[in-house]
């Protein structure tokens, strides 16, 4: 059986790398896409050596939305599975005062990921098969004072993925939304995260691959986050607006 190619958008990030390793370990050839892709040469060699699968590097910038069709055309194989891990948190206070900073966060987490996954959706629909995975965030479940610029962009992505899933459900194309919660990555380095609520990138990767195999729709990497976010979503707004969480 030939295994489907897996494209990872944002392959330099800790979660992206972990997802590439996870699928490669399961026998999938992987396509690693990121900015300055040539600097991922050592990771490509590592993956090929460890798992005996092919790995290719592809230049990709999520902000260059005009380049997306050309990017897809240039891939040596249209992947069976595409995973978008791209994201950028920024600094909330900066995002509040600086429109350009806020725009960068919105475009990196919503516009770019949604556009590229939308472009793949059309190709997959045409082919009649494929899986689209968007790594969104629990921050998108409800806007909070501490990170609502990032959170709202992720909320947009989550809604986009949900709509895409609805549109493609009868077309042989499946859409998975991954909500990781806290993850121990470069993005969260130095933050004091509670250990029980914090996933390792490898846990996100394993949960993602399982969700793809089982055709799950929306997954929280650590089940406790589903409970936490259910509570947070259900706090009445008059109360919620006074909380600092």
């Amino acid at each position: 059986m030939t295994m489907e190619h897996v494209l990872v958008l944002g392959a330099r990030s800790d979660i992206g790398k972990a997802i590439a390793h996870e699928f490669a370990e399961r026998g999938h050839p992987v396509q690693l896409a990121a900015r300055n892709a040539e600097t991922l040469e050592a990771d490509k060699a590592d993956i090929e050596l460890r798992y005996g699968v092919g790995a290719t590097l592809h230049e990709f910038d999520v902000l260059e939305t005009g380049s997306f069709d050309g990017f897809i055309d240039a891939l040596p194989d249209l992947p069976g599975i595409v995973v978008c891990v791209v994201g950028y948190m920024g600094e909330q206070t900066e995002n509040e005062g600086d429109a350009a900073a806020a725009s960068l966060v919105m475009r990196s987490n919503f516009e770019g990921p949604a556009q590229i996954l939308g472009a793949f959706a059309n190709r997959f629909e045409e082919r009649g098969s494929g899986t689209i995975v968007g790594v969104s965030s629990v921050a998108g479940d409800r806007g909070r004072a501490t990170n609502y610029v990032y959170g709202s962009a992720k909320a947009g992505l989550t809604a986009f993925l949900s709509g895409l899933r609805n549109r493609l459900a009868k077309k042989g194309v499946h859409v998975v939304t991954v909500l990781p919660g806290f993850v121990d990555t470069q993005m969260t380095e130095g933050m004091d995260l509670p250990e029980r609520l914090t996933a390792q990138p490898s846990e996100v990767a394993a949960a993602t691959a399982r969700a793809v195999e089982r055709g799950r729709n929306v997954i929280y990497v650590k089940p406790i986050w589903q409970l936490i976010m259910a509570i947070i979503r259900n706090i009445p707004e008059p109360v919620f607006k006074k909380l600092s969480i």
Binding site: A42, A45, D46, L49, R50, Y51, Q186, E189
Partner: protein, 441 residues
Amino acid sequence: MRLSGWGRYPVLETSVIAPRSVESLRSVVREGPDVIARGNGRAYGDSAIGRTTTVHTRHLNRMVSFDNQTGVLVAEAGVLLGDVIAAFLPRGWFPIVTPGTKFVTIGGAIAADVHGKNHHRVGSFRHCVEWVEVMGDDGEITRCSRASNSALFDHTLGGMGLTGIIVRAAVRLQPVETGWIKQKTIAAPSLQDAMNAFEAAQDATYSVAWIDCLSTGRNLGRSLVMLGEHAAVSDLPGRYARQPLICPTKRKKSVPMDLPSFALNRHTVRAFNAGYYWMGVRNGDTKLVNWDTFFYPLDAILGWNRIYGRSGFAQFQCALPIHRSRAGLTELLQAIAGKGMGSFLSVLKRFGPQDSPFSFPMEGYTLALDFPISDKTLILMDKLDRITLEHGGRFYLAKDSRMSANTLNRSDDRVTRFREARNVNGWRDRFRSAQSERLEI
């Protein structure tokens, strides 16, 4: 943050940095004021806790190349031995030297110059290391081997990270036909019987003994000596022979919480040890076990360090020269059993010759056992130190968390030269661990 080794004692404050590239590692090293590398944190004590800064190598964990003619793997320091096995056993290769856990990094294995069940035949990890690349205090990387920069090579193997940051290494693997080991268990009712069994088994590829350190009198030092040979395909029953390099894996168990300190006491441990010994006697003889069970029995219980409870534990491991082994071991075991403070994870092993300037092994015997941390056990371990010194033995720094600088000095006249090399090469200014400070090396 607060950091400890595998024994969870001591717990010390240090700043932990996990660089993602050689460039960022370089700037951390240059910045100082002093650093120590940490692999997967499997040293028991404070070897891999920085006095100020601890550099975690977990992101520097890529495999670089593999030569399937010579079996030489080039990998970054943070690659785990378990990853090497996962990648290369299916292709018929296995580490030549492996310690009792696969959750160690290649960098850590080099720094501690770990040994395995085949030390009597091949020596320590050094045996399979072709070269090492070490980052010095100026951030420059030097490749060292037996042939070039040999002084750096010699001091880095067993140097506990005190010669610089190990960045990459070339490590030779051995070809194997299967992932299975033919294990023979010999019940030895006394220490002398166990030593006789080791001496008679010098040709065995692997040998190790589980020793009951709570039995006394006639039974003092009773052991189960386990010998192992790599199985050939022709040794396997049909169902395994079809895929000889793939072994069925058991689900890992894990210790979900710290056990209360009363869970381990002399009665529970004595009962466990007696039961384990007699089970070994009954099951004796030869059987086929997979590599994971043979080499890494404790890895099957994730987080087993939690059974000792919140205050942690210390491991005592010494090596005794061959001509003093019997007398020394007898005295050590009498001291331990007399206090009734032995653990059930006690290991006895025959070492072969070792030739390197600062590695732990020496021709003779090594004894390793755990103690939950308490005032009483700390006093007992001081006594074990004294007995070891009297018999010309020395101590394994990868296990140590509490001995004194004075004890180290008296145990090992190589320390002076190692310290000198640290001073002469400027390593001492930049590369320091909590352990190197405590031991003044």
